[in-house]
Amino acid sequence: MNTMIDVAGLRIAFGASEVVKGVDFNVARGACFGIVGESGSGKSTVLRALAGLNRDWSGRIAFEGTPVGLKRSGAFYTKVQMVFQDPFGSLHPAQTIDRILSEFLLVNRTGDIDGRVNRALAEVALPPSVRFRFPHQLSGGQRQRVAIARALIAEPEVLLLDEPTSALDVSVQAEVLNLLADLRRRLGLTYVMVSHNLAVIAHLCEHMGVMQHGEMVEQLSTRTLREGGATHPHTRDLAALSLSLETVDAPAV
């Protein structure tokens, strides 16, 4: 297989406490790999290490067979972009949406800033009128779409997505999931997506890893999961709960 991302023996610590304890996985070019698992299990921490936002890791992280070190070059970010879990924290409060979206283009001296900003807004289904607003003037869902637009504007090959739809309502979630599926098909993007929502992961990814207490306790295909083939108790619990909440007329929680 044509491997885009290769992670082996990844360990990450904050001070004395190790929160990721030896994680291995591969993602093929153009594939989508999902990471699910309980809160605090280390999902975001793994993703941040891939993005070069964490310095205290050891093990191997390679993109297209080339191992990356603790520091990443500017060129790295034209290839790999990340969308964060918390859209409020990740958008600069004093910058307009226009400024936030143009940042990357200004730094990289790209032309046609105006057109690209408008296209990025259209791609995430935001009206052009939000362009000169500030993040606090947008709803939670609108802010997350700005965060996705900002990642797309770099035209990356890899998107690292941390809970990209958990702040979105179901209708925008559907639009964003369709958009992500479409971008992947059209541009051959590779995704690693973290979500606590198993149905969201299963919709977009064909493989997933399940994390608990800093370990990836199971890796399986979405198909195996759907056919009831999960073996680890944590995966089975997540699947059972997800199914019980799926319909509006299922028994109460």
Partner: protein, 280 residues
């Protein structure tokens, strides 16, 4: 009636244009009642919730024919009087937990402060209460989280810390804006069970804002469905599956499901006529 709101309107003005984000919302809630508010992004759910706490952005123009909390007219309350109500009899979990937690204070300090604002007890008792609350919201290592700063915890932990802080003063009304959106299903179920127990035990009223329709239908008594600042319908939560309004049906239909793989998710086809109808 714990909450009684009639014809709530919230508008913003800029460049000579007026934008009405909330247009004539009516809400009522009795003690022990759980009301869900659902609706797409930007439909005015958070603004409606913030209006109840009078925590709207300063440029927001608000009007209502009635806005009462347990018989108290909120429209005429001063900021000082509101401050006593907020975080006391009225608790709220805001949509952006990291934004609403103070970044320079430890989580334990913040929960303890919130506890002491409405309970009498020593510093030590407040700290113990904070620890107990963190345990109640299912934080695995509560002693460690107590001394952590907001940026040192995961998304789901921040959300739970915020919930613990709001439950500390034992409120009569809890307004929770997407309180569990960052949590996995098992923790989510636990937190909702905890909130449910408080509703029962303390006769608390709950307003739960969420975009997760199945969740709201399992958990609440009634559901109000919002679109573009208006209420499309208000129905018993148990009847949500039989909702007739095309908007509600559209919302129900566009969620990915584990047992029902679909290549493309249906998206909402919005109809201008929805906004012309007299709501409810």
């Amino acid at each position: 009636m714990l909450v009684d709101i009639q014809d709530l309107r919230i508008a913003f003005e800029g460049n000579g244009k007026r934008f009405e984000a909330v247009r004539g919302v009516n809400l009522s809630l009795a003690p022990r009642e759980k009301l869900g508010i659902v609706g797409e992004s930007g439909s005015g759910k958070s603004l409606t919730a913030r209006a109840m706490m009078k925590l709207l952005p300063p440029q927001a123009i608000i009007s209502a024919t009635r806005m009462q909390f347990d018989g108290v007219d909120l429209l005429t309350r001063s900021e000082r009087q509101m401050r006593r109500i907020r975080g006391g009899r009225m608790g709220f979990v805001l949509q952006d937990p990291k934004y609403s937690l103070n970044p320079v204070k430890t989580i334990g300090t913040q929960i303890a402060e919130s506890w002491r604002a409405h309970n009498t007890g020593s510093r030590k008792m407040a700290r113990e209460a904070a620890l107990d609350l963190l345990e109640q919201v299912m934080i695995r290592n509560p002693a460690k989280v107590l001394d952590a700063y907001p940026h040192e915890v995961s998304g789901g932990m921040g959300q739970r810390a915020m919930i613990a802080m709001m439950l500390a003063p034992d409120p009569d009304l809890l307004i929770a804006d997407e309180p569990t959106s960052a949590l996995d299903a098992s923790v989510q179920a636990e937190i909702l069970r905890l909130i449910d127990a408080l509703v029962e035990r303390r006769n608390m009223g709950l307003i739960l804002i969420s975009h997760d329709l199945p969740l709201v239908s399992h958990f609440c008594d009634r559901v109000s469905v919002m679109y573009m600042g208006r209420q499309m319908e208000e129905i018993a939560a148990a009847d949500l599956a039989q909702a007739r309004h095309p908007y509600t049906r559209g919302l129900l239909n566009c969620m990915p499901a584990l047992n029902q793989p679909r290549e493309t998710l249906p998206v909402l086809a919005r109809d201008a006529a929805w906004l012309e109808e007299t709501p409810l």
